[in-house]
Amino acid sequence: MAPKPAFELPYFYNYRPYFTLQPVRDTREKQIQLWKELILSFCKHYGMYIVDVDDFPLFANKSIERKLTNEARELFLNALVMEGRAEWLGKDHRKCLLLWRRIEDWADLIISWVQENALENGVVTLDEMRTGDEARGTDLENLEMIILERAVRLLEARGKAQMFKGSSADDTGVKFFI
């Protein structure tokens, strides 16, 4: 994958108070909104799908010597979950799946990809879809397996695809009916 251009951090990221959960409700609501947007765009920019609550680069800003408390991190991610833009992986809330693109939109993207690569009525494995030649340079490249699987399942429900379980998870195949 070609190196991405540097991500431009928004103005608030270097203002220390934004790393403390604000007590005044109005202010906090604005704060949450800003962080939600930042997390989503950052992940989208770098093609990240999983946020490790304890280890996400955004949550600590060395240049101003500030980092978000665990409470704040969970709060912001929860806000994304409430909005349907993220999902917790596991009850301990240590990892969060980011849906900066919704599953439905991934599904649509897959359809276009299938059409562009003339894979209608063809069969590919899930693994090929995210690491194969046709994936290179597209948004599907290195797509998180969990998301890919969900999107394909959605297409299944719509009657546009059929999954076949192989001997291992990597072998799971898909046939597209478009």
């Binding site: 007590p23 005044v24 409700r25 109005d26 609501e29």
Partner: protein, 443 residues
Amino acid sequence: MLLLEAQLSESGRPILQPGEIECQLIDSTDIDLEQETKPPYWNPLLGGIVSLTTHRIIWIERTRKKEPVQSRAFAIPHPAVHALEPPKKGGLKSLFGKQAVKLRIVVGIRKDGALATRDAASAVRVVMVFRNLDSNSDAFVTRFQEVLEAKAWTVIPPTSALPGRAHPGSEPSFSGRQDGSQPSRAFTTAHAGVSGILKREEAQAKQADETLQEAFGDLNALMSKAKDMVALAERIRMRLAGSSGGTGGGTDEGEGSRQEMQDLLLSVGIASPVTRENAGALYHQQLSRQLSDFVGPLLVKSNGMMALVDVYCFFNRARGTELISPDDLLQACRLWERVNAPVRLRRFESGVLIVQARGHSDEAIFAQLAQLVKTPDGTHFGISASDAARALGLPPALAKEELLAAEYRGLLCRDDGADGLRFYHNFFLELDSLQEAAAGQQQ
């Protein structure tokens, strides 16, 4: 009918085409045909207000009533104008005092007698008579000529709001003159030594300095003249204020000269506040109607009210050029009361000014708020200005004003805690009525 019909809005203002801008207004004007035998369908248009725009000249029937009645309006598009024959100065008649000024407009017509914006078969002479002897008809005619030359109707209007400002000769000129000359700094260090540049810069700075000196001198001279004039204006204004309601003010003449004085004062930069007795400058009266039209649809989108500051921004952005000042806006809004406009200006306790539809009442909003505070969230946490803003579809500042108004009314009570200012259902109201009931029973 020779002239084209022009569309008017509900409040009697011409509906302008995209890109069309109003340039000048003049009142008490007739439009007639200048020929011996006039066609049977022709009726002279008497005593109307004429609006000169970038695209047309529009005659608007003037009604005396307060209520804007559906007036008639007719227009001559500029492309149909072949020539202007400006009024002649002097003449024997003028010995007897001022005469109504006549402007003759040569317009092209087709074979069937209708106006021709191109390929005219022949021409007729339309005469515009300016009956208000105190109006500045010269300025109007000059502007008319300018507008015809500018041919703005051939230009497709830009889509952007306030366009990038382009002024003739706007390149910075070190001589400081408005001569449109290009800046002389069109060379690089390759062409002259650094010291050469420095010397040139120094010389230019010095020249600018001297120019500035002269400029300040001229400014001083101008200001001393201004002072005299302002003093005179003040005296006359006070006299006019004193004479309102007296014998002088009752007659039409008195009314006319007062109106004229307002206009004069305004042009000098002394705004006369609109009072019950006077309607202020003609400019503000027209602006008032224009604003009423403009604001109507905006209010529908913003749930019935809008901060005056926002009206200022929206209106000026829509205008693009020849913007109105905040004072102009305020004066125009104050006039709404006098003409029963469908919108009104309202002031909250805090001093915040808003524009509201005339029929709008707070009751509906209070009802909404009352419901909001009775929801589970509202009961436990109360509602903040942001909560109210979301629910009412208003900006937070205005939502806050409504909350305060509801509190004043006794419908809500506040809690100014660590979580910010929040409002709750006014329990005390119920407590009061309970107490009253109890007291009543005791009696």
